[in-house]
C-alpha cells in the first residue's frame, strides 16, 4: 500500500543501518526511548534493534494507552455496566485488560453485562439512536490521537439532543507523561539520551509541545513515523544530534506532522474537554494536568457524574512488573510471570494485552531473548 511499502524497503534499511553503525561513536551510549507502543511494535516486528550497533538501545516508553490505564478505571467501567445496567461500548483493545479479582470487560460480558466492542464513536452514536430506552456509555480511552473522535461524538450527541448517550472519559496527554519520565530520569530512574517522539499523536498536536523536552531537560527529540525506515532514519537523526552536541525537536514524519498540528481538531478538543487537575497512570502514579475530563458545558454527558459507582480499591496482580516496564526501568524478561503464565492468550498485566505493549511485543516476535546483549534472531527486514 502506498505510504507503507516504500517505508519498509529492505535495501534502504540496510544502507541506513550501515550509516548508523558508521556514525555512532563506539565510546558512547545511545539510549533512545521510543515513546509510543507503535514504535515498540515496529522495532520488534522488523527486528530494528538487531540492525543497530550494540551501543544504541531502544528503551520502551509508556505510549500505549491500554497499558497505562490503571486497573481502577477498568473496575469503574465494569461497575458502570453492572451497577447501572448501561450499555457500555468500547474499543476492542480494552476488552481483555485484567481488572481486580481476575475480572475483565470480556468476563463481565460473559456474565451478562451489556458490553459491546465498537470500531468508531459513530457506532456508539448509532447504538444510542437505535436503543432510546437504554443508557449507552462510551468508555473513552487514548492519547491525543483518539481524543478528537470522542469530541466529535459528544458534539453530535449534543446537537441531536441524544439524552441516552454519555462518556466515561479516560483520555490522557502525552507531554505530561514525557515530563514525568524526564523529571525522574537519572541514576535511579531510566537513563535517556534521546527520544523518538509520537507520530500520530503529533499529527494532531504538532511538534511544538515537545520543545520543553529539549529546552528544559536537554534531551533531543525526533518525531518519528511508525514504519521501520521512519524509525531508523529518526534514530540516525538522534545519533547526529548527539554527536554534534545539538539538542532540538526535529520532525522526521513531515508527511503528516507540522509544527502547529491539526487546528480544527484542537479547537474541538478545547471546546468539549477540560484538563483534569490530576489523573492516575499505571506505573507513573498520579500526574498533574495529565488527562482530560468533559468541559462544564458537557458535564451532563459525563458518565462519571451521571452514574456514580462504588468500587473497592483496585487489587493489582502480584509480581506484574508493568509499572516499572512503563517507566523504562525494567524489561519484560525481568518479570517472573513473563511467558509463564502471562502470555497474550492469558494476559496477567496490561502490557501483555495490547499488541503495542512491551510484553506482548517481546512475546509475539520471539525476541525476548535479545533483550539482553545477545541478539539471536536476524532482522526481518
Amino acid at each position: 500500500m502506498k505510504y507503507i511499502d516504500e517505508f519498509r524497503d529492505k535495501a534502504l534499511a540496510r544502507r541506513l543501518a550501515e550509516t548508523i553503525a558508521a556514525e555512532a561513536h563506539p565510546g558512547r551510549d545511545y539510549r533512545l526511548m521510543e515513546f509510543c507502543g507503535g514504535h515498540t511494535h515496529a522495532i520488534f516486528r522488523y527486528g530494528v534493534q538487531h540492525l543497530m550497533p550494540p551501543n544504541l538501545r531502544f528503551i520502551h516508553g509508556p505510549g500505549c494507552p491500554v497499558c497505562v490505564l490503571p486497573m481502577a478505571r477498568i473496575d469503574h467501567a465494569i461497575a458502570l455496566a453492572t451497577q447501572h445496567d448501561v450499555t457500555l461500548c468500547t474499543y476492542g483493545d480494552l476488552m481483555r485488560v485484567p481488572a481486580s479479582e481476575r475480572k475483565s470487560l470480556l468476563k463481565a460480558k460473559a456474565e451478562g453485562a451489556d458490553i459491546r466492542m465498537i470500531y468508531s464513536t459513530q457506532d456508539v452514536l448509532r447504538i444510542a439512536r437505535e436503543n432510546p430506552d437504554r443508557q449507552v456509555v462510551f468508555f473513552a480511552i487514548g492519547f491525543e490521537t483518539t481524543t478528537p473522535p470522542t469530541a466529535v461524538a459528544l458534539k453530535s450527541a449534543r446537537a441531536e439532543g441524544l439524552t441516552n448517550f454519555s462518556v466515561f472519559c479516560n483520555h490522557v496527554l502525552t507531554p505530561s507523561a514525557l515530563q514525568t519520565i524526564l523529571s525522574t530520569a537519572g541514576p535511579d530512574g531510566v537513563q535517556l539520551d534521546g527520544i523518538l517522539g509520537p507520530s500520530h499523536v503529533s499529527t494532531l498536536i504538532g511538534s511544538r509541545p515537545y520543545r520543553f523536552v529539549a529546552e528544559q531537560f536537554g534531551v533531543p527529540v525526533v518525531i518519528a513515523g511508525f514504519e521501520p525506515l521512519d524509525v531508523m532514519q529518526s534514530a540516525l537523526m538522534l545519533v547526529r544530534q548527539l554527536n554534534e552536541g545539538r539538542c532540538e525537536v526535529e520532525n522526521q514524519y513531515t508527511r503528516a506532522v507540522s509544527e502547529e498540528g491539526n487546528r480544527k481538531a484542537q479547537a474541538l478538543i478545547d471546546e468539549v474537554f477540560r484538563i483534569r487537575p490530576e489523573f492516575e497512570w499505571r506505573g507513573l502514579g498520579f500526574l498533574p494536568n495529565s488527562a482530560l475530563a468533559l468541559a462544564d458545558a458537557y458535564a451532563d454527558l459525563d458518565a462519571e457524574q451521571r452514574f456514580p459507582v462504588e468500587i473497592a480499591p483496585a487489587k493489582e496482580i502480584k509480581g506484574c512488573e508493568c509499572p516499572a516496564i512503563l517507566r523504562g526501568v525494567k524489561t519484560p524478561t525481568d518479570c517472573k510471570l513473563f511467558g509463564k503464565p502471562c502470555t497474550p492468550d492469558n494476559p496477567m498485566g496490561s502490557c501483555m494485552v495490547s499488541s503495542e505493549g512491551a510484553c506482548a511485543a517481546y512475546w509475539s516476535y520471539g525476541r525476548f531473548r535479545a533483550s539482553s546483549a545477545q541478539p539471536q534472531a536476524a532482522s526481518r527486514l
Binding site: 500500500m1 502506498k2 505510504y3 507503507i4 516504500e6 534502504l12 540496510r14 544502507r15 541506513l16 543501518a17 550501515e18 550509516t19 553503525a21 558508521a22 509510543c36 507502543g37 507503535g38 538487531h50 540492525l51 543497530m52 550497533p53 550494540p54 500505549c64 494507552p65 491500554v66 474499543y91 470500531y119 468508531s120 464513536t121 480511552i141 487514548g142 492519547f143 490521537t145 483518539t146 478528537p148 473522535p149 466529535v152 500520530h200 499529527t203 494532531l204 513515523g225 521512519d230 532514519q233 540516525l236 522526521q252 514524519y253 513531515t254 508527511r255 503528516a256 491539526n262 480544527k264 474541538l268 495490547s354 503495542e356 546483549a373 541478539p375 534472531a377 536476524a378 532482522s379 527486514l381
Partner: protein
C-alpha cells in the same frame, strides 16, 4: 491503539461530512469531521473511523530521498578510522 493508516479518498458525501476510502482493496466509510478541504484522490491518515490529517505526497517523497541520501553518504565513508563491525543483519556481539 494510536495507529492510523494511510488511505485514498475515492468519494465524498459533503452533506454527511463523510468519505469513502480505499484501504488496499477494501472500501470503507470514514468521517471527515476532523479535517478541512479534503478532495477525492487525497491520501489521509485513518484512525477509528476518522480522517486525522492529510498526507503530503511531496513530503513523503522528500523523506524517501533523504533516507536514500543518508544511506549513500555511508559509501563515501569507507575511510572511517573505526569501522563498526555490526552491520545490517549480522546481529553479532563484538
Amino acid at each position: 491503539m494510536c495507529l492510523a493508516i494511510p488511505a485514498r479518498i475515492t468519494s465524498i458525501d459533503v452533506a454527511a461530512d463523510t468519505a469513502k476510502v480505499a484501504l488496499g482493496s477494501v472500501g470503507k466509510e470514514i468521517s471527515l469531521a476532523l479535517i478541512e478541504d479534503a478532495a477525492v484522490g487525497d491520501y489521509v491518515l485513518i484512525h477509528v473511523g476518522y480522517a486525522l490529517n492529510k498526507i503530503s505526497e511531496e513530503e513523503a517523497q522528500r523523506t524517501l530521498e533523504m533516507i536514500a541520501e543518508m544511506g549513500l553518504l555511508e559509501e563515501e565513508q569507507e575511510l572511517d578510522p573505526e569501522p563498526t563491525s555490526t552491520v545490517a543483519g549480522s546481529g553479532g556481539q563484538r
